[in-house]
């Protein structure tokens, strides 16, 4: 896949979906054509950039903090222990070490809610498209343009032709497949979302397959991890997302969403499964459906914390 493929694929997808749901189709198509034309310039732009020397980071020179506030271990050795790594302090450092006149004046808004995106912020792509200077480039779009596109995309999962017991039995008889998927999952995905214990989870998986653990929620968590591990085998160009075999994921999603509505059990298999299902949907470029699962997981986690 190269840059041009990505851009063209993206704009074609936008074009086909937008046509069905936005009024004034002809006008929109003209604008999207213009968009696509601009995007097509990107390849030459990137090629040109590739032949020029890389930029320097001027700010690094101006603010020569480097490792000054890290522990000696951090500054001089290889990977430090987590306890030595002051990420929390990164953002809580005294404001304006290098610009004290600012530290006396600047309001640090959201200090108490730094993990939360503010309501009504104006940095979405939709907001950007509403700016006059951008509209002069691409024309008029509604601010929720991308929401309209994403919410109108068809989302259908075929019902698996096996029930859960049959699926688990077939997996128990095909351990190499399970091991390969788990290995791939822990190598590729786990570093980005290190929720599970890499040593203990395979034992848990075995317990589910052997029938020692027979809760549907535990099985769903295993299936969604399996689905993620197998998804990674496919490169972006090898199969279209709609052609991927989502059997394991579909089974897991059905269980997780129904249990989310019905279950009041206070363990972490359900919210973990929902989070990993959301990650799976992110791999399939389904941000809105992923958000719904995250929302369910959030509710479940709040219930756990409150208890």
């Amino acid at each position: 896949m190269n840059v041009e493929d990505v851009c063209v694929g993206c704009s074609l997808q936008i074009t086909s979906t937008a046509l069905q749901h936005v009024e004034h189709n002809g006008e929109i198509v003209q604008r999207l054509d213009k968009l696509e034309s601009l995007l097509s310039q990107l390849q030459s732009f990137v090629q040109k950039r590739a032949t020029t020397p890389p930029p320097t980071v001027q700010e690094t020179e101006n603010f020569s903090v480097t490792d000054a506030y890290l522990s000696p271990t951090l500054a001089t050795s290889g990977i430090p222990s987590i306890s030595q790594f002051p990420y929390q302090d990164v953002l809580a450092f005294p404001v304006g070490i290098h610009a004290p006149q600012i530290s006396m004046q600047m309001p640090v808004q959201g200090e108490g809610q730094a993990m939360t995106i503010p309501i009504g912020h104006l940095t979405t792509t939709g907001s950007l498209f509403c700016l006059e200077s951008i509209r002069s480039l691409i024309g008029d779009y509604p601010e929720d343009f991308f929401f309209q596109i994403e919410s109108s995309r068809r989302y259908v999962r075929e019902t698996p032709n096996q029930n859960l017991t049959q699926m688990l039995n077939s997996l128990a008889a095909d351990r190499p497949r399970v091991e390969a998927a788990l290995e791939k999952f822990f190598f590729e995905i786990h570093p980005h979302y290190p929720i599970l214990d890499e040593t203990k989870f395979p034992i848990f998986f075995d317990a589910v397959l052997s029938g020692s653990l027979h809760r549907e929620i535990d099985a769903a968590l295993c299936l969604v991890i399996l689905a993620l591990g197998e998804l990674i085998w496919h490169s972006p160009d090898s199969k279209a997302d709609d052609e991927l075999d989502c059997t394991f994921f579909t089974m897991a999603e059905n269980i997780l969403t129904s249990q989310s509505a019905a279950s009041f059990e206070l363990d972490t298999s359900l919210p973990s499964g929902l989070v990993y299902a959301a990650i799976y949907l992110c791999y399939l470029q389904r941000p809105l459906q992923a958000w719904k699962l995250i929302h369910m997981a959030s509710t479940q986690l709040q219930l756990i914390v409150s208890q």
């Binding site: 980071v57 991308f146 992923a290």
Partner: protein, 231 residues
């Protein structure tokens, strides 16, 4: 027995799941302005999770992503939130700049000072990443996906710090009349956009959970960088 097995075999920490949850959620909330679940109230009062020795490398990268998420949210709050006490560049008070994207509800805090401070915090974030993980920002060719994602977060944050200046310069008839810092900041913004686009080309060559978000930002930054050319 089963309870013991379950609790012993699955070491899933609620805290980790919640932090993941909120980090993941913030990106969708950011783009679609979706309703909140309420989890953020819990997460705000939590420490970052710790990790076992085995997952230390991945854990460090994950913590780096968490911390830059906080910085990105701080940038949103400080520059772009439609809230009170937000900064405003002095030049934005003119009628000619009614197309700005940052909030103009209040005044008193100079945006240029805020931008300098936030840029400083961003550089601190970068320099705090342990050397084995820290990307070389003078080179836009990541060696692996995790490093590519750290780079994208850096360039994305840098671009939104300086974007108001570029919008202002592009919507002003005579940009040369603006303070030199505005022009310099606009160049910084364009440079960040270009670097993001170059890095994204690498990330988009893989199947990742970041694909949609990266393409979305890619489109956005492409148009930002193609605003009126600076002289």
């Amino acid at each position: 027995m089963l309870d013991l097995l379950r609790s012993g075999m699955v070491s899933i920490r609620v805290r980790k799941v919640e932090i993941h949850n909120d980090t993941r959620n913030s990106d969708s909330l950011a783009e679609f302005n979706l309703p909140r679940s309420g989890i953020e109230i819990v997460v705000e009062h939590m420490d970052f999770p710790s990790f076992s020795q085995q997952s230390e490398h991945g854990g460090l990268a994950f913590l780096a992503i968490c911390s830059v998420r906080k910085l990105l949210n701080r940038i949103h709050h400080t520059i772009y939130a439609t809230d009170q006490r937000v900064p405003i560049p002095a030049a934005a008070a003119s009628p000619a700049t009614n197309t700005t994207e940052y909030s103009t509800q209040s005044s008193g805090w100079a945006l240029d000072q805020v931008a300098v401070e936030l840029a400083h915090q961003l550089e601190n974030w970068l320099s705090s990443i342990p050397k084995p993980l820290r990307p070389d920002m003078n080179n836009n060719q990541p060696t692996h996906l995790q490093q590519g994602w750290l780079r994208l977060r850096y360039w994305s944050a840098k671009h939104i710090i300086y974007r108001p200046f570029l919008i202002l310069v592009a919507s002003t008839n005579d940009p040369q009349q603006l303070p030199p810092f505005y022009m310099e900041s606009s160049k910084n913004c364009i440079e960040a956009c270009k670097n993001y686009i170059e890095t994204a080309a690498f990330v988009l060559g893989h199947r990742t959970q970041y694909t949609w978000m990266t393409i979305q930002a890619y489109v956005s930054l492409f148009y930002v960088s193609f605003e009126r050319p600076l002289t």
